[in-house]
């Protein structure tokens, strides 16, 4: 039946004078927010490529201390050189890997742990719910950045500890969102229907509850990515990051700080990279939320 309708509609369009997409809608696609999204998308894509194959993009080796010390940005060194005589552009390109890794890994880890706890609390309910949520609430009373700082300071600087610190501070948010989502789905008639025909609990959870409740988590994770990158960079900036041959952006920013008055480019460009990436990821996250959240859908 529906097939017939489509055919019908197509025939109508075929013989109609009007184009399938109105000029207004075409302009709408090119509007400022849309351009921003395309811009943000290409920036994220470029940084991801930098993170995966930095060698193809960076013109020099990031550890090569062979150039003039603190040379201003020029054609040969677009971001200038630092106090070791390294090419800042190459260092920033190579540094993207750790910054991205910290962001993505801590979102995945935090989302997984938080989601699991939230799902357990929401679906099982009862004592389990009470216990988990009280623990989560305790965790929530500590400000996120403070918690991350405390963990990173206590465990010492390493890549894994930073990921742990950043993700743990995000766990309560994920847990609460998924729990409330599951609670609202759990009471829907189709779940009751599934239960009434004897579907086992775990199957209902996997087949019906989870698919219907995790989309807000996706939005949260995208927006959380920006925050995670920022918190990760913040920890590195404060000296709790990893000291490696090729430092991440937060460490670069921190190390170049003392040279701001004589060689502004050493810390400005890593800082700009952080800003651009976080801004782009946030724009993407906002757009994703608009798409998914029915209440904010435009006419």
């Amino acid at each position: 039946m529906s097939g017939k309708e489509t055919v019908l509609a197509k025939t109508v369009w075929k013989y109609d004078e009007k184009p399938p997409i109105s000029r207004q809608r075409l302009l709408g696609r090119m509007s400022v927010p849309n351009l921003l999204i395309y811009g943000a998308g290409s920036i994220i894509l470029f940084i991801i490529i930098c993170g995966i194959v930095p060698g193809f993009i960076a013109p020099y080796s990031p550890t090569d201390m062979a150039y003039d010390i603190m040379a201003a940005p020029s054609f040969a060194h677009p971001f200038g050189t630092d106090y070791y005589g390294r090419d800042v552009f190459s260092v920033v390109v190579h540094g993207s890997r750790d910054s991205l890794f910290i962001g993505v890994a801590s979102v995945l880890f935090g989302g997984l742990v938080g989601g699991l706890l939230g799902a357990l609390a929401g679906y099982v309910g009862g004592v389990v719910d009470t216990f988990i949520m009280r623990c989560i609430e305790v965790l929530m009373t500590i400000p996120g950045i403070l918690l991350a700082l405390a963990i990173a300071a206590a465990l010492g600087p390493s890549l894994f500890n930073i990921v742990l610190a950043v993700s743990l501070s995000a766990v309560p948010g994920y847990a609460r969102v998924l729990r409330s989502q599951i609670l609202s789905i759990k009471g829907r008639p189709f779940i009751t229907a599934a239960r009434s025909i004897g579907t086992p609990g775990w199957l209902i959870f996997v087949r019906h509850v989870l698919p219907n409740s995790w989309s807000p988590l996706l939005v949260m994770a995208t927006i959380g990515l920006g925050t995670s990158i920022l918190v990760g960079s913040g920890l590195s900036f404060l000296g709790l990051g990893i000291i490696k041959e090729i430092p991440d952006w937060g460490t670069l920013l921190s190390q170049g700080r003392g040279y701001l008055t004589v060689a502004w480019w050493i810390s400005t460009f890593p800082g700009l990279a952080i800003t651009l990436l976080v801004l782009s990821v946030n724009l993407m996250g906002d757009r994703l939320r608009d798409k998914i959240d029915p209440k904010q859908k435009r006419a």
Partner: protein, 565 residues
Amino acid sequence: MSRVKKNWSASLLLLSLTLILAITGCSGAGNNSKSPENKEAKASNTTGTATNKGAEDNGQPVSGGELTFALAGAPDTLDPHRNGWATGARVFRVIYDNLVVLDSDNTVKPWLATEWTVSPDGKSYTFKLRNDVKFHDGTPLNAEAIKYNYDRAINPETKAITARSLLKYYESAEVIDEYTVKLNLTTPSQAFLRNLTQPQVGIISPTAAEKYGDQYGHNPVGTGPFKFVKWEENVGVTLERNDEYAWGPELVANHGKPYLDRLVFKVVPEEATRIGSVQSGQLLAADTVPPQNIAALKNDKKTHIYQVNTEGLPFTLFINQSNAPWNELKARQALQLAIDVEKIVKTLYLGTYDQAWSSLTPGTFGYDASLENGIKPDVDKANQLLDELGWVKGSDGIRVKDGKRLAIRYVEGSPNREKRQDIASIVQQQLKQIGIEVNINITKDIKVVVFENDDYDVYGNGQMNPDPEGLRTFYHSKTQNVAGKHNLGSIVNENIDKFLDEGLVETDPVKRAEFYKQAQQEISKQAIIIPIYVFPYTVAASSKVVDLKFDTLGYPLFNDLYLKP
């Protein structure tokens, strides 16, 4: 849609806020400085001498005014005997006087003591004291007070560290009469007299020490040119002129009371703020100037840079010989040849720090200048030496022998003091060329990692010291401060031990210097260490500040200082 906009504008707001902050931070109160007539003042900068003269002053010193002096670190205590950090000593150096003073020509001159005699066996020193000296609280200075001080410093209950090592061979004191005191030593020590010049063995008021007990560090009372007023934690220390002061040492020109009314030390750890506040005229002086700012400050007519190389042991990389293959001379020589110290020092300090060539710094008694320019970096030869030892480069360029990678655990402290972490980064790249992997361990807990766990192959350290006897703590085999087993470099060398032991007791200065020269040569020949830089104490001061002086260890002296009106 609306969310996107909100976020966008929020970030714009943030960006502009940061910009505003940056701009105001830079210009900060620039109009505060009211010194148009200072334009003719020439920025002179003399290096390496203890008597830095400030601006060309063509007038008489002017009394009055307040000097604000920014310190990079907060003082740990103002109790000299309990002090461990130089930043504390810079403050209390002006509160206390010593028995004797180390003059700029490295000889010991009278201060609170007018004269002294040494017994023929070198084991006792008899000092005659000035009879006109009073502490800030009115207590008279006498032989009893001197005895009280040194006994207190070596008393284990005082928990002194630096002071105790300075008084290592001090045994007891005898009060001969009111103004004569005899100090007895366990072993004759030629370092003893020089050690008595150090701020950590400054003379404190016995009355105050008894009165305040453990709180004495916050209520210091000395005989020095400045009196303690108040100490606000992490803000600063305020001192005022001691009007009765009339016993200044020969090191300074003004033996009477200082010209300044007040001397205020402020704690400003952030480099940019510290230097910026001198440039803008908010503060009159700031210490520990980062090398990258020195050039700009030198060219600024409103500021001078003072730079004094400190005596003692330079910043030196110690190679831990208790771990193979560093017990082998050839392996250590490979490090010595592969680490291009000249490049490190030029790159990081931009020509403001001097490269160190020996285990002592130039100016220290017994320094061997013949070692200068003795080692030229030679990567090929370094590679060859490691080849000879059987270390073969693997596919990733790192050498392997018997399945073991040639790796160095390089331990460095945090924060990045004097860019020492950056030294580690450069060494890492330089040693990669000869197939050595350097794993840098940055830790806040040097005491545990290095001195308790012995978990390092390379660790850098240095020490300000008035006498080459300071070498003992680092090079004598009897020093076992790492896990109770060995010294920093795990050095066991009979020749070095012998030179240091003989240098300690030799009374003829020429012969004594010779022992220390031989010790330095042996240390260099055995490739035990890699000396890196000589630490200069740097101060940036407004050109209004005239005649800021320093002693040989870089402690600032404020006796002659006055402010141009």
